[in-house]
């Protein structure tokens, strides 16, 4: 039983899969009668007893009893999470955050930009759109990564290509890579996008700057451009203050923000 909002729900790791040298995918299942509903783009607070909690995006669409997460080993807690085995307990609190603007996607050309582990939460959206192909007009996915080995979910590109155009690029590579080389902006140069598209990006803040320079005021409207922000978080419910950007809380107002929401917010896009 959950008796106050900081007590997480116990769940189990039912599958685990290495996604890249330092990333792991986990499938998580709650006990039978536990209700867990979420929107694509929301995140959960994940904890293991003895270790603290960390915010982690959900990577699947809300269509099954289980859900998946992808975790990069970055520090204390994430290192522990990636060491979990099938059958281990894992503790989940949430879901938290606003999620993607699904309503606005109706009939639109959608562009998804994922750099590095930014693909984790966006995969939830891709899968959702894959399940609901009728609602949007077209889907373009730009994926960038350091090297071919750290291109996460590449196995699924085939599946995605059934309903989307997928373009990938890597910063550097060995001889076996025959795709595009260069950072993610290289893809912007090579592939024209439709004017009036809805664009959603997740990755390190630096790419947001190039996206703004490139598209705002040209092909994308300010309120059609969405960024996911990443901040330190301790509570997930708008109390601890770690995730604030000016007036906004990444945990409750975000993590998905439209550009016009944050363009004057000096802390959001710093």
């Amino acid at each position: 039983m959950k008796d106050h909002n900081y007590i997480p729900q116990k769940a189990k790791v039912v599958e685990r899969e290495s996604l890249s040298p330092d990333c792991l995918g986990l499938k998580i299942r709650f006990p039978k009668n536990y209700q867990f509903n979420f929107h694509p783009g929301q995140f959960v607070m994940v904890s293991v007893p003895g270790f603290s909690e960390v915010p982690i995006g959900i990577t699947t669409a809300p269509d099954k009893n289980d859900f998946e997460i992808g975790v990069r080993s970055a520090g204390t807690v994430t290192k522990k999470i990636v060491s979990l085995m099938v059958g281990d307990d894992i503790y989940i609190n949430g879901p938290f955050g606003n999620g993607f603007p699904l309503q606005k996607m109706k009939g639109k050309n959608i562009v998804i930009i994922a750099a590095g582990i930014g693909i984790f939460p966006l995969r939830s959206l891709i899968r959702y759109l894959g399940n609901n192909k009728k609602i949007f007009k077209s889907l373009t996915i730009f994926v960038g990564s350091k090297c071919p080995e750290s291109l996460i979910y590449k196995k699924e590109y085939k599946e995605w290509e059934k309903f989307a155009k997928v373009y990938t690029t890597v910063d550097s590579c060995g001889p076996t890579w025959d795709g595009c080389i260069g950072n993610i902006t290289t893809l912007f140069d090579k592939n024209k996008i439709n004017k009036g598209s809805l664009m959603i990006a997740c990755g390190p803040p630096i790419i947001y700057k190039s996206i703004i320079n490139r598209y705002v005021g040209k092909s994308i409207a300010e309120n059609d451009l969405y960024f996911m922000l990443e901040r330190k978080m301790k509570c997930g419910v708008g109390k601890c203050q770690h995730c604030t950007c000016g007036e906004l809380y990444v945990c409750t107002d975000g993590p998905v923000f439209s550009y016009d929401q944050i363009k004057y917010n000096t802390e959001a896009l710093s």
């Binding site: 003895g50 270790f51 520090g75 204390t76 290192k79 522990k80 060491s83």
Partner: protein, 258 residues
């Protein structure tokens, strides 16, 4: 499960920090199945030459044998943890100016004396350090936190707040206000503020907090203290720290300007 093999080496220092292990004795005995101390000169009759899973280094490397021990310990250990201010910061002894060491030795030992030692440095000057446990001496509870983290494989990090949090929570009167100076505001906390609790100002033994603002400390302290006294106190534990060196440089520049 294999027992974690722990080694504890003391270089040149007062050996106070390692006594904190003895202070934890009953608690540690409960975990007898999880670890064994295979090298501890102070407490073991027979000591292994390694390899070790976790090695604590106490003291600052000064004597030739200290540096030997240190390098050999690094080779034989998976994790090196500095135990206390001497290992972590170079200790108070490192406050003496290196270029005056020869003269200092002459003053104490006379002209015929030859030394085999080098000026005191933090351990990290010679070898890579994986974790730091600050303090002079290390705080018992923090050592306990470190060990319990170690046993479950959680990364330990020292506290990030200033001593003032510990101090306020303990309900101590603030000595910065009452007596005009204290290093608490720029010193890493976790110690539980025993010094202010007992009426003496913080000497900074946990080392500087991240982004310690020493010039601001100086201007706040200057009203009731000579800059010389402030510098003296700061030098005790901070002398080998980058913030302190930067502060000294900015001081010099400031003087030249005025």
């Amino acid at each position: 499960m294999n027992k974690v093999k722990i080694a504890i080496f003391d270089l040149t220092d007062c050996e106070g920090c390692e006594l904190q292990f003895i202070a934890l004795r009953e608690k540690l005995l409960k975990r007898g199945n999880d670890f064994e101390i295979t090298n501890w000169r102070l407490a073991n009759e027979i000591n292994s030459n390694g390899p070790f899973d976790v090695t604590f280094i106490e003291g600052s490397p000064i004597a030739e044998t200290d540096i030997e021990t240190l390098k050999q310990a690094r080779k034989m250990s998976k994790i090196i943890i500095t135990l206390g201010a001497c290992a972590d910061l170079g200790g108070m002894q490192s406050a003496l100016l290196e270029k005056k060491r020869e003269r200092d030795l002459l003053e104490v030992y006379g002209p015929k004396y030859k030394t085999n030692s080098l000026p005191p440095k933090p351990v990290s000057y010679y070898v890579d350090v994986d974790l730091h446990l600050p303090g002079c001496p290390v705080n018992e509870e923090e050592l306990e936190r470190l060990l319990s983290s170690l046993f479950i494989g959680k990364k330990f990090s020292p506290k990030n707040h200033s001593v003032c949090l510990d101090c306020k929570v303990a309900g101590n009167p603030c000595l910065f206000l009452d007596e005009g100076f204290c290093l608490g505001p720029v010193t890493r906390g976790g110690c539980k503020a025993p010094c202010p609790a007992n009426g003496i100002r913080c000497f900074g033994c946990f080392g500087p907090i991240e982004a310690a603002n020493l010039p601001a400390l100086k201007s706040a302290g200057e009203k009731h203290n000579s800059v010389e006294n402030i510098d003296n106190t700061l030098s005790l534990f901070f002398s080998k720290q980058d913030v302190y060196k930067e502060y000294k440089i900015s001081q010099k520049k400031g003087k030249n300007v005025s």
